[in-house]
């Protein structure tokens, strides 16, 4: 995998907060801190997998990068350009190179448009391709994602979940973008279809030299497609590193527990000891003081309750006072 010296995407201390409004005047009484001070880089040609449980802020993070959410603080550098405070009009230009694929392909496709129109839309909106050439491009897109051209005049409801996700992918690659944020692209699909879509994403990456931010809660899919993996808990990155290293020797207790909690498709491993953590994820409106994981951590010490651990600058970095050996 090639790793350019300058990152394609650089995130600096990004915070995405949602205001909590109360009362007749909708006064802001607090914030849900969905993404709280996250810094990371994504290099050209790689796939960064982002895992975490629901409510950890991984989708808010992905949406902030493509500016579907406005960051509260922090900087987003994409392709050597600061896009943090770009206005919608200027963003349009950026978005030919920066795209997103959503979890539910049905909700993200207009039910009243035919596939041919859905896929022609990017070319018409950006006016970068002459009208006469649009249909040729649409055919090429269908071909690239493995859908028969004969399906061009069908509506989204006539497709299965996997086929709809192919349409979502086709739309995202219309201008051969540099970075695609994949927000849980296979979570809603059946196992056998998941494999089809994961293979398609891997093939397109090769073909078009794409870079992915792959957000998922399914650890197997992340392991399959990623080059590096970041683990998120309650708005923070708790561990980031090379995939194989992170899976072989997780350093953060949460990563370890997450990897163990996943039921393995092998009945002979049934007797294996594993740590089951108690309790639920705390509310991101009132995150615990100190280390955010301390309320559920089996190795908690006094310092964890008061001081927040920082994520180091290492290639395999961990935000924990007592990282695992």
């Amino acid at each position: 995998m090639m790793t350019a010296s300058s990152p394609l995407l650089q995130i600096e201390q990004l915070k995405t907060y949602y205001p909590i409004k109360k009362g007749v005047f909708s006064r802001t009484v607090g914030h849900v801190k969905a993404v709280d001070d996250v810094s990371l880089c994504i290099y050209e040609g790689e796939t960064l997998g982002l895992v975490g449980e629901s409510g950890c802020g991984k989708s808010s993070f992905g949406r902030s990068i493509v500016r579907l959410e406005d960051p509260y603080e922090g900087r987003i550098w994409f392709d050597n350009e600061d896009i943090t405070s770009r206005k919608q009009k200027e963003l349009k230009r950026v978005r030919t190179r920066l795209q997103i694929i959503f979890q539910d392909p049905y909700a993200s496709l207009n039910p009243r448009q035919r596939v041919a129109d859905i896929l022609a839309e990017p070319y018409i909106a950006h006016k970068l391709v002459p009208r006469s050439e649009v249909q040729v491009r649409v055919n090429r897109l269908l071909d690239m994602v493995g859908l028969p051209k004969a399906y061009k005049n069908r509506y989204p409801h006539e497709f299965s979940g996997g086929q709809r996700q192919r349409i979502g992918i086709a739309r995202a690659i219309a201008f051969e973008p540099k970075l695609i944020v994949c927000d849980e692209p296979v979570s809603a699909l059946d196992v056998s279809i998941q494999a089809q879509i994961l293979n398609l994403l891997a093939d397109l990456q090769q073909e078009l030299n794409l870079t992915y931010l792959f957000i998922a809660h399914g650890i197997g899919a992340v392991k399959y497609i990623s080059t590096r993996v970041a683990v998120m808990y309650l708005g923070k990155i708790v561990e980031i590193g090379d995939k194989d290293e992170l899976f072989r020797s997780p350093k953060h207790p949460y990563t370890q527990i997450l990897l163990q909690a996943y039921p393995k498709p092998d009945p002979t491993l049934r007797g294996d000891k594993r740590i089951v953590i108690q309790g639920d994820v705390p509310s991101p409106a009132h995150p615990p003081a100190g280390c955010r994981f301390h309320t559920r951590c089996p190795y908690v010490q006094a310092v964890c309750r008061s001081e927040e651990p920082a994520l180091g600058p290492d290639a395999h970095a961990v935000a924990c006072h007592y990282p695992l050996a």
């Binding site: 059946d190 994961l198 049934r270």
Partner: protein
């Protein structure tokens, strides 16, 4: 016949739904049985009929659904022939069920305590006070120590994991002999899923209830089940004990399912996806229902429908190719290996 009577025996069940024009069969020729205390996993992708199978047992098929053929023998009673009234006394007491989405199966306008007590009083002769004490005991049993406070709260204030624990408490409160769990952990996060699976294991040991676990997750099946039934397009395509199935899946569909899970351990090869999509129940392919997606499909597979047949012991497969390979040499090396392994 087997002298050990089965708790549940399903025999050539066919359940149909009226779609406004015609009746279409959601499941066809489904037969399997379950011994007391055993856990059977039913796996398959969406639309394969795994939920319809469980809903048929409870006869919760709505206005458009009915059982057209077959028998469901529970404890030697044929449930298909029972009246609605008799089934009502059975549901919740002898056979309990937990669903995927615990929010939609709890009543949002009644407190947790109210719903538990109602359920307990419906099936036992306990007084209101006794039922309340028993409800609290059940909540503690499912790992909710703050039982007293929980009795007076409403479902929306609880997390998904807690709601599922409450559903389990409710389901087990009348000591059912069979618990049907329909995707009980699918809506939950992995760490919460691990908690619920551990809880189900310990309660299973304590209560001795048989469990019918319906899921699309082969990991959950590997973790929980004694035996596994694999369903595809409304039919059972393979049945075996869990170790045999994972070691030697025989049906091309089961093999495809296993090859398409990305592994957390070990190396990453390219995933072997099953091409195509599940056929619609209105237009089932002729012959074997899997032949449109099967890489081994031969002429016979396109013409004639295979039956579920034993390929050694209790390992049954619905596939011409596997059966033809197995039949000329009934005691193959494969077969002996299986017998030794079980």
């Amino acid at each position: 016949m087997n002298p050990i009577t089965h708790l549940l025996e399903i025999d050539r069940l066919q359940t149909v739904f009226w779609n406004g024009r015609e009746e279409v069969a959601a499941i066809e020729d489904v037969s399997f049985s379950l011994r007391a205390g055993e856990t059977i996993g039913i796996v398959g992708e969406s639309g394969c009929g795994k939920s319809v199978t469980s809903l048929s047992i409870m006869r919760l098929l709505g206005q458009n659904g009915r059982i057209r053929r077959g028998e469901i023998r529970f404890n030697s009673r044929n449930l298909v022939a029972e009246s609605e009234k008799e089934l009502r006394s059975l549901r919740g007491k002898e056979i309990a069920m937990i669903f995927q989405e615990p929010m939609t199966s709890l009543n949002p306008v009644l407190t947790i305590g109210h719903q538990l007590v109602e359920m307990i009083r419906c099936h036992t002769s306990l007084s209101r006070r006794e039922a309340k004490a028993y409800a609290m005991e059940m909540l503690k049993k499912v790992g909710l120590p703050q039982a007293k406070d929980l009795m007076s709260v409403y479902p929306h204030t609880l997390s998904g994991g807690m709601r599922q624990r409450i559903m389990i408490a409710m389901a087990l409160s009348c000591k059912p002999r069979l618990l049907i769990a329909d995707e009980p952990t699918t809506a939950l996060d992995v760490t919460i899923q691990a908690q619920i699976l551990e809880l189900m294991k310990s309660l299973r040991k304590e209560s001795g209830a048989a469990i019918m676990l319906i899921t699309h997750d082969l990991g959950v099946v590997a973790e929980m089940a004694d035996r596994v039934v694999v369903m595809y397009a409304g039919q059972i395509v393979e049945e075996a004990d869990v170790f045999t199935l994972f070691r030697e899946p025989k049906h091309p569909y089961t093999q495809g399912l296993m090859a398409s899970i990305p592994r957390v351990q070990g190396e990453n090869e390219r995933l072997r996806a099953i091409p195509g999509t599940v056929p619609s129940i209105r237009k089932m392919p002729k012959g074997c229902r899997f032949h449109t997606r099967c890489e081994w499909a031969a002429e016979r597979c396109r013409q004639e429908q295979p039956q579920l047949e034993s390929v050694g012991g209790e390992h049954q497969v619905r596939c011409w190719i596997v059966q033809e390979q197995a039949s000329p040499l009934p005691v193959s090396a494969n077969f002996q290996h299986q017998e030794a392994g079980v």
